[in-house]
Amino acid sequence: MNPSSSTTAEGALPGHGAHDAHGDHHDHPNYLVDGTTIKSWLLTVDHKRIAIMYLVWILLFFLVGGIFAMAIRIEMLTPGPTIMDAMTYNRTFTLHGVIMIFLFMIPAIPAVFGNFVLPLMLGAKDVAFPKLNLASLYIYLAGAFLALWGMLNGGLDTGWTFYTPYSTHTTTSVAPVLFGAFIIGFSSIATGLNFIVTIHTMRAPGITWFKLPLFAWALYATSCIQVLATPVIGLLLAVVTGEQLFQFGLFDPARGGDPVLFQHLFWFYSHPAVYIMVLPSFGVMSEVVATFSRKNIFGYRAVAYSSLGIAFVGFFVWGHHMFVSGQSTFDAGVFGVLTMLVGIFTAIKVFNWVGTVYKGAVDFKTPFAYFCGFLFFTVFGGMTGIAVATTSLDVHWHDTYFVVAHFHFIMVGATVMAFLASIHYWFPKMFGKMYHEGWGLVAAAFIILGFNATFIPQFLVGNYGMPRRYFEYPERFQALNVASSAGASLLAFGFIIVAVYLTYALAYGRASGKNPWRSKGYEWVSDSPPPTHNFVGPQPTFPEEPHLYVDPKKAEVPDAV
């Protein structure tokens, strides 16, 4: 094979061991069929099988959270009670938040796609601690089931932020739900720990730090946050559970406690948590834009450093959730200016993604369609984040639907778009099959349009003055609420289309071949789907940087930036 050719078929990278053209061998079956008993799945230590199991449960919880979301939007159609009473509604929005954040958003991209793709990207056989990986899945499920049990047995009505003193006095089932979230925290820490050690110790020879795929950089930054921030919320969840049961009064003013201290401790985790939710999506998008523009990422080091920058500075901005909570003006100033700095890192990434498309060779496939939606939503959502970070403006917007729209733009508009892009981009890698491209684009259109129709009215109704967590609202807010609910139906319809054609593709999709996107990302060196130990023969080497699509006969390729 010509080692420096970039136009060989299937985008094979030079330097990897020879094997025949088919995806699997007789003696190296792919991971899906290597062992077909239930036990071989439930007790697997193969990161790919663990990722698939995570995927099943995460999609299930996304469905449950989504059903709660639809219930909310239906209830919001009229100013008065529509389909439920006040206590039910209060439980519904709480559970929508708890499920979506703790059971879906935090694990979604890392536990599914990080688990599946990271070792492949590093040329490794597995993650550093495969048994810990399996344990993280079961810990996650244990916590999730405990939380769900609590939801069915009394529910929780405090909002996902469970501010004290209300959360320590309410008679709903605080303890099981919060303790379930506490248990899930251990899973998050285990995943983060695993990824950090994997990236440090298991890179194939030739993959220096500045040749790491950007998805790996993003996972690294995310894992640092997971490891450092999650213990703080873990402690808080345990303490509040105890307070609810035993009334210690650590945050109860009647016993000398300070409710604002609770908020500080809560947001110290929960702000970095939003970066846990969004950084992996930035990493995925870097991979997708490079593959589908068939071009190197524009400013590799800038993107890599900006992930670290977000992780680091993100720890110092939590007070922007508390501008009107009674914290001092000085604090507001410090948190306000640091939040502006965090915004810069995202701006850097946006410019670099757009720069990647510049002079590229764009193939507008479904993952790229999601990238388009993602780009617009990240800019708009990110800028509205800067807007609410402006202290004087946040006085009006705090705890209104403006903030709800802002964070849904990022959480749904960025992360869920990236999640969908990941599913579509790595579908052939994971299953060796392709889905129907036309339906993919149709669904993406519904989702992107439906998303806009759902959440732009929420910005406006927040401006108008509608607070969040409102079961009944003054009549003047109705028109915008109806518009938002209509959009939500479109959005839901889009998701249903995706579920249908992907399920169909799992069963009847045509074979994808090893590298249908002709990508030069490192994970495409392995077969699709990969064999159990990822590579056959000696460990592959990766002499070139990832996503190098130049024609070597033309201009000089500078050293990797």
Partner: protein, 222 residues
């Protein structure tokens, strides 16, 4: 980081199993240590929340906190500190002996460590029962006549949460060291190439000690 050079047969000790996904034994040991350091950092952040609560409430109720602190048993606390620091010494010695392949001494060191941890818990138990009798209990159960000030119940809430969480970690540490001890008894094959498990267990124990070293002055001394 210790080197784990394969000096062919020159020193005693067996060769541990290399897990299939690691490139070499050295990488495996490095990964294990890195993983343990990361885990220890999570433990530090877990306690950090309680330290923050302590700091904030001490600032809000300085006299109540000082007065309540006077009512802790300084003798017991000091003995506990000495016991725990000594147990850290024996844990460190266990690692030293493990590197030299002296399996029996490793078992003894761990046994001593566990025994001292047990002593720590016993003394803590005495302290707790004394608190129960005095009425120095968290939140609504507080009824200590000696210190009736706003903020005193809060002090004891933090005291019980922090020392209780710490005691829980002491128990976990004892279990981990005990399990390691049993493994060494069953399979005495430690050596310069094979002591990572002992090292990790000992690292965990040092963290448990370190947390106490911060708790003790904050709760007992100031």
């Amino acid at each position: 980081m210790q080197s784990s050079a394969h000096t062919a047969g020159a020193t005693p000790g067996g060769v541990p199993r290399l897990a299939g996904h690691f490139a070499s034994l050295e990488v495996q040991n490095h990964a294990a240590r890195l993983g343990m350091w990361l885990f220890l950092s999570t433990e530090i952040l877990l306690f950090a929340g309680l330290f923050v609560c302590y700091a904030v409430y001490r600032y809000a109720f300085p006299e109540a906190f000082a007065a309540s602190s006077r009512h802790l048993d300084l003798t017991f606390g000091t003995i506990n500190t000495i016991v725990l620091i000594t147990s850290s010494l024996t844990a460190a010695l266990a690692v030293h002996y493990a590197k030299e392949g002296k399996n029996k001494l490793v078992v003894w060191m761990f046994a001593l460590t566990i025994a001292m941890a047990g002593a720590f818990l016993v003394i803590k138990g005495f302290e707790y029962s004394h608190k129960f009798h005095e009425g120095a209990l968290p939140g609504p159960h507080y009824r200590m006549a000696a210190v009736q000030m706003a903020g005193a119940p809060l002090y004891f809430t933090i005291y019980f949460l922090a020392t209780g969480l710490h005691a829980f970690h002491v128990i976990v540490g004892m279990t981990v060291l005990g399990w390691l001890m049993v493994r060494v008894i069953r399979n005495p094959n430690l050596g310069p190439n094979n002591y990572t498990g002992i090292e990790l267990g000992s690292m965990y124990w040092h963290l448990v000690d370190l947390i106490w070293i911060f708790l003790f002055p904050l709760l007992y001394l100031i």
